[in-house]
Amino acid sequence: MRIVVCIKQVPDAKNVKLDEKTYTLKREGVESIINPFDMYALEEGLRIKEKMGGAMSVISMGPPQTDSSHREAVSYGVDDGGLLSHRAFAGADTLATSKTLAHGIKKIGFDLIICGKQAIDGDTAQVGPELAAHLGLPHVSFVRKVLEITEQSLTVERLMDDGYDVVRMLFPALMTVVKEINLPRMPSLKGKMRAKKIEISAWGPAEIGLDDTQAGLAGSPTKVVKVFAPQPRSKRELVVGDPAVQAASLLDRLTDDGILKISR
C-alpha cells in the first residue's frame, strides 16, 4: 500500500505571544513545528504501513526550511518526502494549496492519503476535502478511529457533534484525522540517523506539471482584503469576597447580564 501524509509547517503556538498594543502575533524566536494534527496523521499512516506493508511518504508545500519537518517525519519511520517549494506557490488559498498538493501527490503515487483535521494557523480544515475533489477520491473527515482496513476498503469512525458515524470507503481514498485517533510515537535512533542523511527533493510547478496560473496567489480565488485584531473583551472584573459572597455576586451579575434566568 502506498500511503502519503500531508504535513504543514506551522508556528509553535506555545511560544506565540500576542502584542498587547497592536494585537498582532509576535513570532520572534518562535520555532516552527509540524502541525499538531499532522502528527496524528503521521502516526496513523505508520501504523497502517506496519500492518499492510508498502511505503509511506510525506508531502508539504512551504518555504525551503520546511525540509526540517520532513527530516522529523523520517525520524519517526517515514520512507521519503516531497517538498513543494517555489515562489509561484506563495500566497495560496486552500484551492491553490490543494491543487498544488494534488499534483505533487500524483507524482509520488498513492492508495491512501492522510491529512490532519486542520492546520492551527490557517484553521480552515479545507485542504483535505479539496484535495480529494481534485484527485476524484472518496474522503471522510474528522476520523477518530480506523475500524478495519483491507486491500480494498477502509472502515472508519467519523467524529460528529452528537456521536459518531461508521463509514466505509473503497481505495484509493483520503481521510483527515483528529487527536483522539492515536498517541504518536517517539523518533527512533535509526530514524534519526536516516533523517540526517536523507535527500529531500524540492519541486516547483514544472516538476509537478502544474500551470503557474493555478498555483499561489494567481490560482487563488479568495483574497484577504483586511486583517485586524479581534475586539478585546470589553469587560473584565474580579469578583471578591469569601466563597459564599463570591458565588452570590457572580450569580447576581450573570442574572443582570440576562444570561441566567433564575430569580434572586
Binding site: 473527515s141 496567489l217 494567481a218 483586511k226 479581534p230 473583551r233 473584565r236 459564599a244
Partner: protein
C-alpha cells in the same frame, strides 16, 4: 522572499528608496515576518495578506499580482443559497440561523433566497424552511441520501449549483458542512471561506466574509472577486435565529439523484452523546481542568452543569488524565466553542485552551492562582479554592431555584 522584480510576476516587495525604516509594517504584520533594520525586510512565511501595505505611510511596500476586486453586477439576480443541514430528519439549528442571514443578504441584493435539502423522507422539513425565509426549496429526497456521506452529498449539491449558478452559497461550519462543502467548492473551482463569524455585502456587491484565524487571535475579511458562487461556511450560534412565519409559502423543486456506483457507504449512525457533551450547540458550558485533581471530583462539575442545563467541557490536562473522554476536550486539538456562558474551573488557560473558547460571550474563571492566564480572558474572575467556590455556587443556585 526575493527582491528581483524581473522574474517574479507575483510577490511582495519593499522599495528601499521610499522606506524610512519606521517599523509600522512590522507592527501591523499579523504573522510577525517583517524585520526592520535600516529598511524593512520580508521574511519567510508571508501570506501576502496586505496588512503591511496598508500600514505603510510611504507607499514603500507593494504586492504584485494581487487582483483587484471587480464589479459583479449581473450576478446579483442569481440568488443566495443556504444548505439546510439535517441529521436523522432533524434540522440543524444553524440552518435556521443561515436562513435569517441569507434573507438579509438576499434583500440587500434584491434576489431570491433558496434552501437546499438532502435526505430521505425529509419533505416535511420544507415547510419549516419556507417559514424561516426560503423562497425556493430544492429537495433531493432519495433512500441513497438517507445518511450523510461526502461523496453523495457533494455530487448532488455540485450538480445543482452547476445547473442554477447561484451567486452566494452558505452552509453551517459543522462537521458536515466543513467536510463536504470544501469538496463542492473545489469541484466548482471556486473559493470558500471557512468558519465565518460575519457576512456583509460591500459597495461593489461582493460578499465580505469575516473569519477568525490563528485560533481566534486575528480576524480576516476575505472576498472572492471573480469566481462564482461565493461560498462560505458559517460558525453555528453566531447569526441570529429569525422569527418564523408559519404558513409562509414558497416553491418546492424536486431534484432527482441520477448517480450510483458510490465508493463510500455509511454503515451506522451512533448518537451516543448526552446533551452534556454536545458542546457545539450548548448555550452554557462548564469546563473542568487539572485543578479538579481526580475523575471523582468531576462530579462537582456535572452537578453545576446539571443545574445550569449546561454541557461539560474539559481541558486537555483533564482528558489526558483520562478523567473525561476526548469528546469533551476544548481547545486547539479539541473543539472550538462559543457559548453564551463559559465557566472554566481549575483550568490554567494555556493558549491551546484559550483558542478554543475565547470567543464565548461571557467567560467565568475559577482558579486559586491569581496569575493564571485564564483570568486575562475572563469577564468575571473568581480567585479561590474551587472546592469551596463551586459548592457555594451550587448551593446559591439551588436556593434561588427553590430546591
Amino acid at each position: 522572499m526575493n527582491q528581483d522584480t524581473n522574474q517574479t510576476p507575483t510577490g511582495i516587495f519593499v522599495d528601499k528608496d521610499k522606506c524610512t525604516g519606521c517599523g509600522n509594517c512590522a507592527d501591523a504584520c499579523p504573522f510577525g515576518v517583517i524585520l526592520v533594520e535600516e529598511t524593512a525586510g520580508i521574511g519567510e512565511g508571508c501570506n501576502l495578506c496586505g496588512a503591511c501595505v496598508d500600514a505603510c505611510d510611504f507607499d514603500a511596500i507593494y504586492i504584485l499580482g494581487k487582483k483587484e476586486a471587480t464589479l459583479t453586477g449581473p450576478d446579483d439576480s442569481r440568488g443566495v443559497w443556504v444548505y439546510a443541514e439535517q441529521r436523522e430528519r432533524v434540522l440543524a439549528p444553524v440552518s435556521m440561523e443561515l436562513l435569517g442571514e441569507g434573507r438579509r443578504l438576499a434583500d440587500i441584493l434584491g434576489c431570491p433566497l433558496s434552501a437546499v435539502l438532502l435526505g430521505h423522507q425529509v419533505a416535511g422539513l420544507a415547510d419549516t424552511l419556507f417559514a424561516f425565509g426560503a423562497d425556493v426549496v430544492y429537495l433531493a429526497d432519495h433512500p441513497d441520501l438517507a445518511g450523510f456521506t461526502d461523496e453523495r452529498y457533494s455530487a448532488v449539491v455540485t450538480e445543482l449549483i452547476t445547473e442554477h449558478q447561484p451567486n452566494i452559497v452558505l452552509a453551517g461550519a459543522t462537521p458536515v458542512g466543513r467536510s463536504f462543502i470544501p469538496h463542492v467548492a473545489a469541484k466548482l473551482g471556486t473559493g470558500l471561506t471557512a468558519d465565518c463569524t460575519g457576512l456583509d455585502i460591500d459597495a461593489q456587491h461582493l460578499l465580505l466574509q469575516t473569519r477568525p484565524a490563528f485560533g481566534g487571535n486575528i480576524m480576516a475579511t476575505i472576498v472572492c472577486p471573480e469566481r462564482r458562487p461565493q461560498m462560505a461556511t458559517v460558525r453555528p450560534r453566531v447569526m441570529k435565529r429569525p422569527t418564523p412565519q408559519p404558513g409562509r409559502k414558497g416553491q418546492l423543486v424536486q431534484v432527482a439523484l441520477n448517480r450510483s456506483g458510490f465508493k463510500t457507504n455509511l454503515m451506522e449512525v451512533v448518537q451516543e452523546l448526552s446533551d452534556q457533551v454536545n458542546l457545539a450547540e450548548a448555550e452554557i458550558i462548564v469546563t473542568g481542568g487539572r485543578g479538579l485533581q481526580s475523575a471523582k471530583n468531576f462530579q462537582l462539575i456535572y452537578e453545576l452543569a446539571g443545574l445550569l442545563g449546561a454541557a461539560v467541557g474539559a481541558s486537555r490536562g483533564a482528558v489526558d488524565a483520562e478523567w473525561l473522554s476526548y469528546a469533551h476536550q476544548i481547545g486547539q486539538t479539541g473543539k472550538t466553542v462559543n457559548p453564551k456562558l463559559y465557566i472554566a474551573v481549575g483550568v490554567s488557560g494555556a493558549v491551546q485552551h484559550l483558542v478554543g473558547m475565547q470567543s464565548s460571550d461571557v467567560i467565568v474563571a475559577i482558579n486559586n492562582d491569581p496569575h493564571a492566564p485564564i483570568f486575562n480572558v475572563a469577564t468575571y474572575g473568581l480567585v479561590g479554592d474551587l472546592f469551596e467556590i463551586v459548592p457555594a455556587l451550587i448551593e446559591g443556585i439551588k436556593a434561588r431555584m427553590g430546591i
